[in-house]
């Protein structure tokens, strides 16, 4: 028998209010992006696509978006295999060095991002990689590694390594046995890691403030610099598109995890 008391109702109402507080700012950018006016009146007096036009009609915004997407895509291409290899090595390595290596690879998440940014800026200013696309890609790769490591390690821990040993005892080399036996079974966590790298790279702002500029300015850097001067509703349009994209990518992760759970284990 379940008793509903005033305490439960009060708790439910409090939680509902907090959830509104959490969701409202995420949702509010959508109507603002379709607003007809520059002023922050809510609800908007009329709807239009002018802020989307102002984004797509401005070559500087388009260039910034291209830079962000290119850097993020390449960061995924580098960080995913590097992270999977590292996770595999940590899982199968016996040396106690592996534990320290793991901590080292987690550092980008632990060191405050402003310090990471200043450090990367220093290295790039000595080597001439400031304001270059390749510099941006390597920085995003570094920042993405922990996400791949966390996602893939969690999966590898529950993976039965004897399967791979069987494949090797049947004559496959280590790489082939990994590719044909292990990888298909940890696929969903590899995809999840790759998606996290992409989202993180797309969202990254602080490092980009220091090392991206000129022709290779990222979308978030441009948003940040614009916001420092004025509240341009074009940013609402960018925000809406970014949030929609992130949501779709998260759905990819959710679906790939679900299908893994449903698929029969051969």
């Amino acid at each position: 028998m379940k008793r509903i008391s005033y305490g439960h109702i009060a708790l439910g109402a409090t939680v509902a209010a907090i959830l509104v507080f959490l969701m409202l700012p995420v949702l509010i950018v959508v109507p603002i992006s379709f607003s007809d006016t520059r002023f922050m009146t809510f609800p908007p007096p009329a709807y239009s696509l002018r802020w989307y036009d102002s984004f797509f009609g401005n070559p500087e915004w388009i260039e910034a978006a291209k830079t962000s997407f290119t850097a993020s895509a390449f960061a995924v291409l580098f960080a995913t295999p590097l992270g999977v290899a590292a996770a595999y090595a940590i899982q199968n390595g016996k040396h106690r060095f592996m534990r320290y290596a793991r901590t080292l690879l987690m550092l980008p998440l632990m060191v405050p991002i402003i310090i990471v940014a200043v450090g990367v800026f220093f290295v790039y200013s000595k080597t001439g990689y400031v304001n270059t696309l390749s510099g941006l890609i390597v920085a995003d790769t570094m920042l993405g590694l922990p996400y791949v490591l966390i996602s893939v390690s969690a999966d590898l821990r529950t993976f039965d390594p004897t399967q791979e040993m069987v494949a090797r005892s049947l004559g496959m080399n280590r790489l082939r046995s990994f590719m044909t036996v292990t990888l298909p079974q940890i696929k969903s966590s590899v995809i999840a890691g790759a998606v996290f790298v992409f989202i993180q790279a797309l969202d990254e702002t602080v490092v980009a403030l220091f090392i991206s500029g000129g022709d290779n300015q990222t979308l978030t850097r441009r948003m940040f610099v614009t916001l420092r001067d004025e509240i341009d509703p074009t940013i609402a349009a960018v925000s809406t598109m970014l949030t929609a994209l992130t949501l779709c990518l998260i759905m990819v992760v959710v679906v790939s995890r679900k299908s893994k759970g449903a698929a029969p284990r051969a």
């Binding site: 008391s5 907090i18 509010i28 950018v29 980008p108 402003i114 949501l247």
Partner: protein, 270 residues
Amino acid sequence: MLFLMTPALAVIVILLIVPLAWLSWQSIYHDGSFTLANYQRIFTGTYLDTFLLTFKLSFIVTGLTLLLGYPVAYFAASQSPRVSSLILGMVVLPFWTSVLVRTYAWLVLLQRTGLVNKALMSMGIIDTPLQLAYNQLGTVIAMVHILLPFMVLPLYSAMQKIPSNLVQAGASLGGSPLHVFLRVFLPLSMSGVLAGATLVFVLCLGFYITPELMGGGKSIMVSMVVSRNVEIYNSWGAASAVSLVLLVCVFAIFYLASRVVPLEKTLGAK
């Protein structure tokens, strides 16, 4: 196995370890001689104020996220799997939205003519718009919003592990609901409280985007001192020393907390 690690480690060493080592060197070595001047500035005058303000805001934000996060996690943990996954979904969605987007949303909401001021005025609570944005209040509101998921998720995962029969046992032995909560549930959820508080506090200490955009240039946090010293004054010595003190604080907190609760799982939540 080592060669599989090498590429990933190389990236970390070149872009993170080498600069950190160099920052340490810069902070004590200037123009051919060793000096502690950069550190002296931190413990006197404006930099001291900056550190104190950063710690103060971090405590406030951590306290508020705990206050708001605990009921949400508690409620989610006590519901059926369907309801709790719905609630967690509403926590995770903002979590995955760009920090920049959320700061922008708060800038809009907290304007003089923004939705919050309008709502308060139409309810008759205030007559003239409050100054909510471009100050510490706005910074705290936006930071609480951005960091709340980092509090809720570890709290929830700790609460989920509390066996419900312990609470039932407490109640069957005659404890009032409040008594059972205080003596049984709350102590068992402390690992989540510690993990969440550590994470939020550490993230606050180094927070840059939101205080910079929302603070109105008046309240300077540690991260902003680092950025200004590099970008505007080109003063690497000062930036290095401030960075290192911040880094030592962060690692000390992580180290102390990790002796009590495993933090790595929490860290990977995002």
